[in-house]
């Protein structure tokens, strides 16, 4: 089964970088679907968890490089919140590698394509997300055996 990758891209840098990958005709896997946001700081943790709950197998959040955020400080907040979210996912027993934070500028079309290809390959190796679907965290077999 094909893995589903959702990418949140900020309008000013990473979404433009994705467009540049397009105008440069660089190829990357079609598993990746992009949602445009004004700034990476718009990405609420709830959106990411919702994506996993609804069938995403990997989520990548892309923003401007630190220091270059179009809204001055937005990506600092993104960075800090994503750190917390990585912790939450670990607590939930989900693989950390299903979530990625990447800074991609408007001139980095090649980096965008390479990152998407790499991330998709990584998610494919992890397989479909079966740990957190619907709105439940499914117990692993081991946890079920212990009656958790």
């Amino acid at each position: 089964m094909r893995v589903n990758v959702v990418a949140f891209c900020c309008n000013w840098c990473s979404y433009a970088g994705a467009d540049l990958a397009g105008t440069s005709r660089l190829v990357y896997p079609s598993n990746v679907k992009i949602i445009r946001v004004p700034c990476s700081c718009r990405v609420d943790e709830a959106f990411i968890l919702r994506a996993f709950a609804r069938g995403a197998d990997g989520v990548i959040v892309c923003g401007c490089h630190i220091g270059d955020c179009h809204y001055a400080t937005g990506n600092y907040h993104t960075r800090q919140r994503m750190e917390s979210l990585f912790g939450l996912l670990a607590f939930m027993g989900m693989e950390r590698e299903r979530l990625r934070l990447e800074w991609i500028s408007a001139s980095e079309g090649a980096k965008f394509a390479d990152t998407m290809a790499e991330f998709t390959a990584q998610v494919e190796k992890l397989g479909k997300n079966e740990r957190y679907t619907g709105d439940c965290i499914k117990a692993t077999d081991a946890e079920a055996a212990e009656g958790i």
Binding site: A21, G22, K33, I34, P38, R50, H70, H77, S107
Partner: protein
């Protein structure tokens, strides 16, 4: 809701990879979609007509366009919607070209993905609201950062249009690199002669405020209402009293940096013609002695107690014109630049042949002051270099200035043997090719296709080991002066300035334009404009053209009394807001105010980043145009 969907073929750009007919058909499955059509070029007049007529005919309350990137034509399609009487923010674009058809090869996969993206756009539009732009003020004053020819030209054009402009330059005089040049290609005009009248105009123009020996320290705000803090460094000279007589220079006993005195005027035609004291080499600032300049100064203009001054000013638009430097040659040891006095850079050669330079215009070797019998010019030192020590781009001006140097050398001493080692000779401008051919055919300059492997000092001369590619053999010779055409790079302040302006820079440190073809003098950040070398290698005519273009954009902005603001701003639901103020803390623009247990967003200041929306613990804050419900609907559509 009554939604109209329009799928663009974009000629074959989309159609070749995405089955437009299939998508157009499938999207009709959604009961809200009352009209679904495909078209070869939606951005063209015919396409626009299709959309506007459909809005009227089907009473559409929402439109989804499946086409190229919204960064391309969102404005175009929004205007079309508005013309047809539909609120322009009831229109959403699915990017099925740059982010689908152009990046995937498999037709089935690309089509399925395009369908998914379209459904996400439909899901988003269903939850949209009509939005209305606000208005923000325009401070009718411009700031130009950088006082070289680019900044000078831009400032003059803006001032001539009647707007006040502040020109900030970090060195004690305006003029930049052009002031250091002897002659300019291809006309061989005297550089200072064509530049100084403009410099004088800048100094005397009533609408231009010149801040030399100053730097921009902080930039806040956004287009129409920037607030900038400028640090005016202490010259230790009172500019209101100084007459430019130069007695202080004569009195100073110190040789400071670059062979100048501790108190110095950068060059004879400096504007303003007021010296500055380099506090690092001045004896008074180092150990409290001397003060001869103060004694010599009749108008009593020397002021050792002077301190840096900070001023804060409001501007509607800012132009970045920070210029360039030549790269350092530390990583290019094979040319022997640091080991031999007679291996110099092109800029140093320019200064030698310049009558106002260190040798008074005599073309002599730095080591012994003799006239060289042979000069060897080496091109592309650090340019066209994909390795870590160089720059991958072509520096654009070197082929031309080397031809100019060769001609200048021959003009001064026809008997000098001049050779140029090149990879290619690039002559992209008007009369440039003819100029280069003159150097070869009229002046007898020898152009050798090939490069130099090593330059070794030997017995007061220089031995070069090179390769002649057309002879396909080694070329080993003895020469007297080697001139290196070092690559250019953006000036060291460029990155700092770019970050202060929130203006993007590319991998080479140049400030990026909003669109390389169609918006060459605008930064992606509204209200910031670019001109000159800070944006990429270019010669003087291109720089001046860009400067005037940037000025034109600034004037277009400043003539407006109001700017329409982005309507996708944050908004508080007072019913859910407790006034905790986390949103206000996160906002980079101070757009959120906390007022008695609630908050309110100033739509004129809000730039729509959405940071407050995510910080809000109760969900009271939301972002119009990218609301919580809308993004969740997109997520559901893409993952389903």
């Amino acid at each position: 809701m009554r939604i109209g969907v329009f799928v663009c073929h974009c000629g074959n750009n989309i159609k070749a990879t995405v089955d437009a007919a299939y998508i157009t058909e499938r999207l009709r499955d959604d009961s809200s979609v009352v009209c679904s059509a495909e078209f070869p070029y939606l951005c063209a007049e015919g396409g626009q007509k299709l959309i506007t007529e459909a809005i009227a005919e089907h009473n559409l309350t929402g439109v989804v366009i499946c086409a190229c990137s919204p960064r391309m034509h969102e404005t175009t399609f929004r205007k079309a919607a508005a013309k047809a009487g539909l609120n322009p923010y009831r229109l959403e674009i699915a990017n099925i070209r740059e982010q689908c058809a152009w990046v995937h090869k498999n037709k089935e996969e690309a089509t399925e993905k395009a369908l998914s993206l379209a459904k996400a756009a439909i899901a988003k539009i269903k939850l949209s609201q009509p939005l209305f732009p606000g208005e923000s003020r325009v401070t009718k004053r411009a700031l130009v950062i950088g006082g070289g020819i680019a900044g000078i030209q831009a400032a003059l054009d803006i001032a001539e249009a009647g707007f006040p402009v502040d020109l900030v330059e970090k060195s004690p005089s305006i003029g930049g690199k052009m002031a250091q040049l002897d002659k300019t290609f291809p006309t061989l005009d005297c550089s200072a002669c064509i530049l100084t009248p403009k410099m004088v105009d800048v100094a005397s123009h009533e609408k231009i405020n010149l801040h030399t020996y100053s730097e921009v320290e902080k930039v806040e705000g956004f287009v129409g209402s920037f607030t900038v803090t400028i640090r005016k460094k202490a010259r230790s000279v009172d500019m209101t009293k100084c007459t430019g007589c130069g007695d202080c220079l004569a009195a100073c006993p110190v040789k400071g940096k670059e062979n100048r005195k501790a108190i110095y005027i950068p060059y004879a035609q400096a504007v303003p013609n007021v010296p500055a004291i380099d506090r690092e080499s001045c004896l008074y600032f180092k150990n409290g002695k001397c003060k001869r300049c103060e004694k010599a100064c009749q108008p009593k203009a020397i002021d050792f107690t002077q301190e840096d001054e900070r001023i804060t000013e409001g501007y509607g638009a800012i132009i970045a014109a920070t210029g360039f430097e030549a790269i350092r040659l530390d990583a290019f040891g094979e040319y022997g630049y640091h080991a031999n006095k007679d291996v110099i850079t092109s800029l140093e050669f320019e200064r030698i042949i310049n009558a106002s330079g260190p040798t008074g215009g005599k073309l002599v070797r730095p080591s012994d002051g003799s006239v060289p019998a042979r000069i060897s010019f080496i091109q592309c030192v650090g340019s066209r270099d994909a390795t870590a020590r160089g720059k991958p781009y072509c520096s654009k001006v070197c082929c031309m200035y080397t031809a100019k140097h060769a001609i200048s050398a021959k003009e001064k001493h026809p008997e000098i043997d001049v050779e140029v080692f090149y990879i290619d000779v690039r002559t992209p401008g008007k009369n440039f090719e003819e100029f280069y051919r003159r150097a070869v055919e009229v002046y007898g300059v020898r152009y050798i296709k090939g490069q130099v492997g090593k330059v070794i000092g030997e017995n007061g001369s220089l031995r070069i080991q090179a390769m002649d590619m057309l002879e396909n053999g080694r070329y080993d010779a003895v020469t007297d002066l080697v001139v290196l055409a070092a690559a250019i790079e953006p000036s060291d302040s460029a990155k700092k300035v770019a970050q202060m302006l929130s203006s993007p820079i590319d991998a080479n440190g140049f400030l990026s334009e909003a669109h390389p073809k169609l918006r060459p003098v605008e930064s992606a950040t509204a209200g910031i404009f670019l001109c000159g070398m800070c944006n990429g290698p270019k010669d003087i005519p291109e720089t001046v053209a860009q400067a005037s273009a940037a000025a034109c954009k600034v004037i277009g902005l400043l003539v407006k009394d109001q700017l329409t603001t982005n309507p996708c701003t944050a908004k508080t639901d007072e019913n859910n807001c407790s006034g905790c103020g986390l949103c206000a803390e996160v906002c980079p623009y101070g757009a959120v105010g906390v007022i008695s247990h609630s908050t309110a967003v100033n739509a004129a200041l809000c730039q729509g980043c959405g940071g407050c929306t995510v910080a809000c613990p109760s969900g009271a804050m939301n972002l119009q145009g990218f609301s919580r419900a809308q993004i969740i609907a997109e997520v559901d559509a893409l993952c389903g």
